[in-house]
Symmetry: C2
Subunit: 336 residues, 2 copies
């Protein structure tokens, strides 16, 4: 075991503002040895998620912060290379929290075994993984979409947004996606089947949304926060639901976070704003996975991944995520 070299990104300082290369130490150590109930996973792909920025902060949140000196937390998919638990065999493909490294020692019961023949591996980190489940539970459980309603999704070309919009379409809603740039907007309509898009980099978002949502917004699924959340709030229909899934525009500026100034629209329209994280629904993951896999097999759930090669690119690739430069679910390919 000890002959395997394990490169790792360790968090060494709490970022102020945008995350930086110097917030991490990139070191190599021998891979660990799995104890009883544990396995050693050879990481193949790592998921880059907006939530990572929050995990780096010291403050209380829904999950403990990454400690200084610890390997940066990340979801990953890989192959079991050594097993000390009867439930997993060498060669099995598993998804779980591996951290940003080549090899992870993990508890077998905290990993999920997947069938690599069903889909390309990165998809298990996207539409068929946490982002897909996030979209599913946020929209279905909190949004409660009804046929004919108008659903607006921000970061519509992103890992969560793309799935959210497609599920809303499956549920018979009219879906408007907000995305950055003509390529993403074209993708959202032409490939994912949204009814309309707003290019927030090149259009007046308020005017465009008003045009696409003449009867107001029944469900707004927010991944971005900031100005776009405020614009959506101002356009709510009566009894609207606002799903707070993320606030990627704000994650690197928490000290000056912009609260939604139009929140009194909730009062005027008897509307509801509710937040969640996917872990709240852990007990219902099987339900969500079954629905997502079924739609994917039926050709109703399209997905796209943005693959960057090389573990060593991690800090730069993470910045790319916050700058919105990825197109599709952003993953790092660590090994074949």
């Amino acid at each position: 075991m000890s002959t395997l070299e394990n490169r790792q990104f360790k968090l060494i300082s709490r970022p102020v503002g945008m995350v930086k290369r110097s917030d991490f130490d990139f070191v190599a150590e021998p891979a660990g040895t799995p104890g009883p109930g544990e396995v050693l996973v050879g990481v193949q792909y790592l998921s880059l998620d907006p939530a990572m920025r929050g995990w780096m902060n010291a403050g209380k949140s829904y999950i403990a912060p990454v400690g200084l000196g610890e390997v940066m937390r990340a979801l990953g998919i890989g192959r079991v290379v050594a097993s000390n638990d009867p439930s997993l065999a060498v060669g099995d493909t598993v998804v779980g929290i591996t951290g940003v490294q080549d090899y992870a020692v993990a508890k077998a019961r905290e990993l999920n075994k997947v069938d690599p023949r069903l889909a390309p591996l990165p998809r298990f980190l996207g539409a068929l993984g946490m982002p897909g489940l996030t979209a599913y539970f946020g929209l279905i459980d909190i949004g409660q979409p009804k046929e004919g309603e108008t659903v607006v999704v921000s970061a519509a070309a992103g890992a969560v947004g793309a799935v959210t919009g497609q599920i809303a379409r499956i549920k018979g809603c009219r879906v408007v996606g907000i995305a950055g740039g003509p390529d993403k907007c074209r993708y959202v309509v032409d490939e994912l089947g949204f009814d309309a898009t707003v290019d927030y980099k090149n259009e007046d978002v308020a005017a465009a949304l008003a045009r696409h949502c003449p009867k107001g917004i029944d469900i707004y699924f927010d991944n971005v926060g900031g100005q776009i959340l405020d614009i959506a709030l101002a356009m709510l229909a009566r009894r609207a639901r606002v799903i707070i899934c993320g606030a990627i525009s704000q994650y690197n500026q928490l000290e000056t976070i912009q609260g939604p100034r139009n929140y009194m629209s909730l009062l005027i329209n008897h509307a509801r704003m509710e937040g969640f994280v996917v872990f709240d629904y852990a007990a219902r993951y099987p339900e969500g996975m079954q629905a997502l896999a079924g739609w994917a097999l039926a050709g109703k759930l399209k997905a796209r991944e943005h693959v960057v090669e090389g573990l060593e690119t991690f800090p730069d690739t993470l910045q790319k995520l916050y700058r919105g430069e990825n197109f599709g679910k952003l993953v790092i390919k660590v090994a074949d």
Copy 2:
């Protein structure tokens, strides 16, 4: 009819910032004559409500703005002095939208007849009127209080807050009220039976709330907005409910309204923030009135009114409301 002099406050300009005397014209005209289905009401008490400031703005809201040149909208209670509808007789006591004037012509079906022997007249504009119903539906329908939960109410000595806290106590909750100044705080605990209070004018609200809510806040009933809403958001318990009933701290500065910067607490705690106005529950008013009257008769629902004499004081009295200088439901006595 035409011999009755009817003094009126007409809105003549849209206030910028705090409402001013010069936003109104105070004129006298002969009282109107009720047409078919209408009555003439001699106003005895007028209700001063935080919502009035919003009615003066031009923008879209849950109710049409008061038009320039029109009598300022207000709820009032008074006696029928002339009737042109079989459902109401001269001498009946009625509650409804009378406007800020001595005599109102109103549709009989838009007035509610009350029994003046049941309570002092101003109470029908407070605990047994719209503010009481607002407290009832906001807390019961949106808040869904459960025994043993911690409920925090802002503007706790105000017309809505006082009833909200008492209902929460009736439902078996631990209730913490936020009020301004030692007199109001004493009243909230000693007279209304709240478990604890925070004096926002003389205490560190965050520290005091943390002391009184060691397990976090399950229900926050917000009447004030601004900084206090943010402090409460930061202390939510899991699955908390935030009821947006008003934002009196913000009504006179709508251009620079402060959005709740801690709204991401909704995500962290899977919490819900929902707004409403009492008119949303018009179909259920009888249910609410029955509950409120029952508790009042049983001695479980205490109330206090702050009576200012004289219709002519209206603009000054309204400012008093926004400065928090009233103690109890603020009403103007127009006539005996």
